[in-house]
Symmetry: C2
Subunit: 711 residues, 2 copies
Amino acid sequence: MTQLADTDRTAPAAAETAAAARPTPRLASPVSAVGPDAADVTVDVAALGEQLLGRWAQARRESRALMADPAFHRIPELGMHEHRERTLEQLRQLAVTGSVLRAFPERLGGANDNGSNIASFEELLLGDPSMQIKAGVQWGLFGSAVLHLGTERHDDLLKPIMSMEMPGAFAMTETGHGSDVSAVGTTATYDAETDEWVIHTPFRAAWKDYLGNAAKHGRAAVIFAQLITRGVNHGVHAFYAPIRDENGAFLPGVGGEDDGLKGGLNGIDNGRLHFTNLRVPRTNLLNRYGDVDENGVYTSPIASPGRRFFTMLGTLVQGRVSLDGACVVASKLALTIGIRYGAERRQFTAESSDEVVLLDYQRHQRRLLPHLATTYAMSFAHEVFLDKFDQVFSGADDTDESRQDLETLAAALKPLSTWNALDIIQEAREACGGQGFLAENRLVQLRADLDVYATFEGDNTVLLQLVAKRLLTDYSKKFAKADAGALAAYVADQVGDAAMHRSGLRRLAQSVADFGSTARSVGYVRGTAAQRQLLTDRVETMVAELAGRLRGASRLSKADAATLFNRHQNELIETARAHGELLQWEAFTDALDHVEDAGTKQVLTWLRDLFGLTLIEKNLAWYLIHGRLSAHRAQAITDYIDGRLLPRLRPHAVALTEAFLLEPAHIRAEIATGVEHERQEEARSYYADLAASGLAPIDEKDLVAGKKARR
Amino acid sequence: MTQLADTDRTAPAAAETAAAARPTPRLASPVSAVGPDAADVTVDVAALGEQLLGRWAQARRESRALMADPAFHRIPELGMHEHRERTLEQLRQLAVTGSVLRAFPERLGGANDNGSNIASFEELLLGDPSMQIKAGVQWGLFGSAVLHLGTERHDDLLKPIMSMEMPGAFAMTETGHGSDVSAVGTTATYDAETDEWVIHTPFRAAWKDYLGNAAKHGRAAVIFAQLITRGVNHGVHAFYAPIRDENGAFLPGVGGEDDGLKGGLNGIDNGRLHFTNLRVPRTNLLNRYGDVDENGVYTSPIASPGRRFFTMLGTLVQGRVSLDGACVVASKLALTIGIRYGAERRQFTAESSDEVVLLDYQRHQRRLLPHLATTYAMSFAHEVFLDKFDQVFSGADDTDESRQDLETLAAALKPLSTWNALDIIQEAREACGGQGFLAENRLVQLRADLDVYATFEGDNTVLLQLVAKRLLTDYSKKFAKADAGALAAYVADQVGDAAMHRSGLRRLAQSVADFGSTARSVGYVRGTAAQRQLLTDRVETMVAELAGRLRGASRLSKADAATLFNRHQNELIETARAHGELLQWEAFTDALDHVEDAGTKQVLTWLRDLFGLTLIEKNLAWYLIHGRLSAHRAQAITDYIDGRLLPRLRPHAVALTEAFLLEPAHIRAEIATGVEHERQEEARSYYADLAASGLAPIDEKDLVAGKKARR
């Protein structure tokens, strides 16, 4: 750690950043907690709020207006069964408003507007995450499968799905198979004699599991099963099947169980289904990408089973888009509560004139402000993601390549945002102490509901490995057409580079250049270009290193190749994570260009710096080991965060949460209503009177010092 | 990262470690996932289990036997009100068994055995954490306060407390004051005319809050209030007061509210209390450390109010001991479930002969095995802690100094174990995927219940600052008697050291020495002495650096000094954490000396190495910046963990959880009963038949590669 004097040397350099907005910097006091410039700028909350709402601001506003209605609010005390019924009723109400049906085609009364549909859907979390996810099951998975995998012959099925007359389950996952959909055990065998499919569960691990709507409300299901006809297995296809009668009893051939109480999302009736030679008409095959005629002959517009499978699963990406967005909304909500409380909560002592609130403590800033920066990064990255999604699903840019890019983006961002949201909510909860543990302040239930986001719609660790795969593929493509000479040159380059690192020469050179003031070294890493370079270089180097290590895999046996990959699985995942974080950083940085107000731009730039430098700090050992940062520069990053960025951002923390534009009806946390401030004022007035009376209680500091009780 | 060839060079050196146990090491295959030595040793589960049970094994066994009774098990589906009533009933049953009364004096029917009381108490978590914490409120806080702060004149109060005839609240915390007990707002003013205390809540923030038993069951309370007599405030004292009549109605002068639903522990009726001139007899003052006679004259056996306050609060330490121990039990339970499932769960694919289970994946090992190492470290550290506690509370070693040491130990370990437990449970839950989210598998409810452990009985960040304070005090004592010359020499030392770091000379020298095989550099950090040196050096250096930075504080104004401290608050907390982790590591290392079986000792040594090296890896940037590790050595640590330690420990993972000796009646998670293994076998047999029939579903890899469907 550099000493205080060093840190102060950053002041002139730090002032530079803000030069445009503030031509005459004041000098910092040596122990001033707040930088010289933080107080001179203000955040234009309304404008920033509008920017955060993004392209689909109108849909978000409408959805939020709906979510202000208590009919859509969670009642914490409800037991599981009552909660399930309330959530079902909420879905019926949502169906009436039509807000959740925007993605359906116009011919069915929808708006064929995928972007606004997802934006609107994400905001439902403010009412109750259970309602949101149950809506996602009904319209985003079950209904969407009928729409995207079926053809117009299935239009009649869609109307009652849209209206909630026909609640249904999306029966893909099996107890024995989470992520490997191509290997589901359920079979659908064509019986030409009756022109029917025979859907069957061959063993216990092939039961469909964790399905929303399956335990109770679902009357139909889209079932993913191996399509078998004329003795050939054509791989996984989707079939529509009624599963319950009007009284809620299973139809013949269908059985199931309730998954029971869960860690959260208990408004959804997750359950298991199994089938014993369940028969459905041949036309119940959702036949867009594969069909069977009455003779049992299979045809498909997509010749390659691989591409066919990929295309069918492609519709699932909207689940990942909306989970990513829901995590942004949840993080905004948690930080609005946590930061508001931190900015009001004060530990009164008898006669101290101490005006310090929790958020004035460095540690409290360290706990919450980097999470605030991450939330902004997530929000801007989600906007990029949603835009890409809309382009593909609206058909504006619907190519194989753009679909693959979209899948990769989803696989990179969904893991980061779901894990981030859990960390953010938990930190907010702990930062609110005992208050944070009370259901009335919402944080614990929000965390409980979002817990499963990390493992559903694609387990995070599995998704990140898909990203790493893609990064490695792209990397190898660079060399696909290169001649031997170019590849050799590249390898030589790498070796040379490694030798440089190993001897410490490169690091030494940087150390010498660094041997100046902290100001210069911080100035170096503080800038946008330097952050980009450090973050990008890390991703590129990690990919190149991985590629180098895995290069020999093709020469190994299948088992040895698997072992080799497994030995680097941790690196694969970390590489993908670094890639995703770079995407978030780039999105945040791009967003800065669209900020007009100079003060807002300054504060947001500090916040982006906090995001970027926190990422670099988190991986500091990597930068040091690879000679990308000298020890001196590395230390300066932590000092700059603690000594400069946090104090500068502190005065704007509340405004930065106000820009989330959440209203009291969305927040609904007792401690974020201003009641804490009122309590503080009442106590302050009591102590003022008491000081006059001479009956002030004894100050802890005096007690510890062993001083006598004052009279 | 070093390349494969480098990693392989560690093989001979790695074999060295195990030399004593296994004289002839086999050579490792280049891509073998498991080291050459892991399979050659076995863990003596019974002996290790006995060692883990520790000094109070008997009490733990008895308590676990009790917890095998379904009467003490949580029923997940119960609503808050039913759960509260069930928990109350469980406490009545516990009172009958007497197991929870071991700490009470023999004259009252107890055993005056503090160590076995806490050990027994910790295991209650296996039934239901709510029951454990409610028992802690009744006997550990409410009853213990009457016992330790009262005198024999209060013996009559204790009998009904012990038997649960008189459930009570421990009314210390106020809405406006979490950690700063000396500043509570509630007052108790002596009225000599009636010989009574008048207990009063002067403002809303002074309401007592979050009190177990306060919302419903409590009929009495120990109230902490400012003792005022004859116009003098003598600071905080404790008063016994009835609060509800036999029908559960508040007595005159008492009011309150229910805290309602919480994030967990909903078997406890937490609530708020406030007092409006509530009158209790003068003798209701718990008068061990301060008394008032009928004339209102205050006397105390402890002259210093500071020491008096400290002594009164000292009894609270047993809460922290038992939370630390409860977190060990919870972590053991979570890993027993998560590791068992990971060792059985397999992703079957149609025709692959793949026998890989989740725990064979490197990432899965990375997720769970370091947590297993931490759990062992926590368990051994807790044993040291509990022993220290018993020595103080039994009177065997009850001095001011040993009490202060105990307080510091509590403040260092409780934050680490409570945070660790949350991380461990969450990782286990995510590692179990969707199964982990079901209440029937217990992980989500366990995490929800333990969440608040991080902020009650002393907020973790506040406790860690107390530790840092103590470290700084001890450090400054070293120089209290030193003459100016010695201090100057010390400062020069520090400066010289800093210059060395800055120029990179020291690091460079180490780099040159390192320029050999990875084996040698890993060999260096792998040993016990090197781990101790690295961990200890970090704590000492951090303390010295902090002391250096805060040295000027005494010359500053009070406000500026506070600002200076605040600028280093994050470092203060990180220093305390490093200290606590070192304590855990030392306890683990000491425990190795008590392992007799050679195979067990080998495996436990690997596990301790994993703990130590994971700590060093977590703080790798610090070691690099401070020139304690070269880049090459730093990288070798990660390679050694991933390439050697994890594969070596993998085959022993299940045995290491079996040594926790938890029985099915304690585990009660469906996925940890072997059902997963049964499902796998059934699916395996199905696929074997299918392969013969030629109807195997299509393999995903073939699909992605675009191959034709096989027939």
